[in-house]
Symmetry: C2
């Protein structure tokens, strides 16, 4: 959609592109991010208070501010501030901007605990088209979602001439109505790389790193940081605190769509044994612009010479879900391999999003919502059982 | 071996760690690299002349000079200069250093052409132990070698406390007797990464990049620069100019040693189809500290569901050679899988090096030289036929 569809807010140096994401391990911190066109006194400050208070004991945090150049574009001032020691299950207001241009938002850190119900939205490859709008507003029209797991590929700025960076700005405005009020967890996709040697832009992930805060180093090699990061990360998981183990990747490992077929193989052969060993519950991927859900399968017996390299049913394996159907500018991926392979449980080339409703430590209800006109229709659903506490086969 | 084994040359600010590598596509350029402890007038200059001339028409080139810090170490001044427009098949002298500390070396760019005989040494995982010395001096004792293809893992500085960077210096002195006179083509291995978060060193390949000039970006992902680099590189190969297509990687793709077993899988599944399509003749790898040569096999029919994932004989495939037997500090890798798989033609856990004698566009004689006391013994050999001009099965 045109830039005019997502105008900046009115007011002198008004804060825009507001988004929040998880700020600490315990769920009591939140990273608040926003952009201002000028870097003036107070434009880098977030003020926040408990909604039920009178606001007299509000607190302020000063952001870390950066700006970047990309080819002929200079970004606004990108502010990131962490607010900490929030109370669980308590609504907060937070305010950005100065003078007549202040803007107010709110957020609510959830109660924590292994049996606390919590609902994630799941979106990937969103972009900023008419279909993207349908997806986002379908998700927002359902009050259940408390946070979004995003499977990579945000703005698709790189599909525009010279990676038109104003598309990163319009994307930030587009998702603000949700992302300013609930944390979005951003995995990085290939459209975040913005590597363009022909225009002298050779620092991978520069715009993304400046704008969004997440682990981003991309590499599948055993000797590079991602590998040791992931090993350490798995060790830190305590299933009695967080029963559900969910992983976001960008390129799917089990994909029966012709688009990007087998592109995830290099990552799968490296990491799949760890996923099974650690009883990962669900892996969400994007990249393929369609929807697919796998059976619980693994393909980790291969030793080069034994020929044992087909996916087999495995109750210790994750369910793999491709949710790259956000609706971006590149269109739908509508050619699947024929026949449908046995590892594929459900697949459909439609735009949409998913909801993952965690009920307690043993059960979660998962639903895929196909975009249909201006409403979302549940087209796939399954009761998932936790692989650590209840590793039984699921029935739909 | 101790640092004292490889002392710096005598003389005030004498140039040391001299090494050369190919400087252009046509074989008329050479990169001269050296180190000085001080950065004084003239210490960054290389002077060169045709050996048969009287030296009166010598030429000079000023180097690009850098220095780096790593934890508590500060490097000397690292100079790299490209000398160009050299005559083929002509011996040159080149001189480094100033005053009483000048040092002279020589180099000879070979004649070029598709049927010009040329002999490569092949060495990997060399390190700087007693065994490393045997390997290097065995290679040097044979006058045939004109250049070295190095399969990664140079100094093993990272096996020492805080990645002791003086080990990079001693390594540079150790290989100088060969590397100052003939080009060494350096592939990067995992021991070049020098990533050490605990001591604040998080810029991968910093020492290596400063000291050695080669393509180094490591990544197997389809959307990162290595992928597009390799695609472009294959397109540039003109087999009527350069009949033999040889690739250096670090982790082997066909390895039947228990050490690092299947670590190359992520790279293999990504790139192997291109290697077969482009009729690569030979792939040299290091990483495993032993010797192994494969049959001509490929394993590229796999489509996830067909189960066709075992190596099969393929006359369009490269021979894969693991030559990580240079003799580094980590010792020999002496446990092979049992039985020997069919893709493995020859394997032995001994230190050594190889020679690849290209005879013309169709034939090359390849030999592996096991270290034995102070001499090298040919323990494996094969006449290789060029995959582009003569893609027939070879017999030993």
């Amino acid at each position: 959609m045109s830039l005019e569809t997502f105008p900046p807010p009115a007011g002198y140096n008004a804060p825009e592109q507001v988004h929040i994401t998880q700020g600490d391990h315990n769920g009591r911190g939140m990273i608040i991010s926003w952009v201002t066109s000028l870097n003036e006194d107070g434009s880098n400050v977030v003020t926040y208070w408990i909604a039920s208070s009178d606001g007299s004991d509000n607190k302020s945090v000063i952001a870390t501010t950066s700006s970047y150049r990309y080819f002929d574009y200079t970004s606004g001032y990108l502010h990131h501030a962490i607010i900490k020691e929030l109370e669980y299950k308590t609504k907060y207001f937070y305010e950005l901007g100065t003078g007549r241009s202040t803007r107010q938002f709110n957020l609510t850190p959830p109660k924590v605990g292994p049996d606390v119900p919590y609902t994630f939205g799941v979106i990937g490859d969103l972009g900023q088209t008419y279909a993207s709008n349908q997806t986002l507003y379908n998700y927002m029209s359902n009050p259940k979602g408390q946070a979004v797991l995003f499977a990579g590929d945000l703005s698709y700025a790189d599909d525009h001439p010279n990676h038109d960076q104003s598309k990163w700005d319009s994307y930030g405005r587009f998702v603000e109505p949700s992302a300013a009020y609930q944390p979005w967890i951003w995995a990085a996709g290939n459209h975040e790389i913005d590597y363009a040697q022909s225009i002298g832009e050779t620092q991978p992930f520069k715009p993304y790193k400046n704008r969004y805060h997440v682990p981003y180093r991309a590499s599948q090699n055993k000797y590079t940081p991602q590998n040791s990061w992931l090993q350490d990360e798995f060790k830190k998981v305590n299933r009695s605190e967080t029963p559900w183990l969910i992983v976001l990747v960008h390129a799917p490992w089990y994909n029966s769509n012709n688009y990007h077929y087998m592109e995830g193989e290099s990552m799968r052969v490296t990491f799949e044994p760890w996923f099974v060993e650690n009883k990962v519950d669900i892996v969400f991927a994007g990249h393929v612009h369609a929807y697919e859900r796998s059976e619980r399968v693994s393909n980790i017996q291969y030793n080069i010479t034994d020929g044992m390299s087909t996916p087999v049913k495995d109750q210790n394996a994750p369910v793999y879900i491709t949710i790259g159907d956000g609706g971006n500018i590149e269109g739908i991926a509508n050619i699947f391999t024929d026949p449908q392979p046995s590892y594929s449980a459900f697949r459909e080339a439609s735009f949409g999003h998913a909801l993952l409703e965690i009920k307690n430590r043993t059960h979660a209800h998962y639903t895929w919502h196909r975009n249909k006109e201006d409403e979302a229709v549940i087209a796939d659903s399954i009761w998932l059982k936790n692989r650590y506490y209840l590793p039984e086969e699921e029935t739909i």
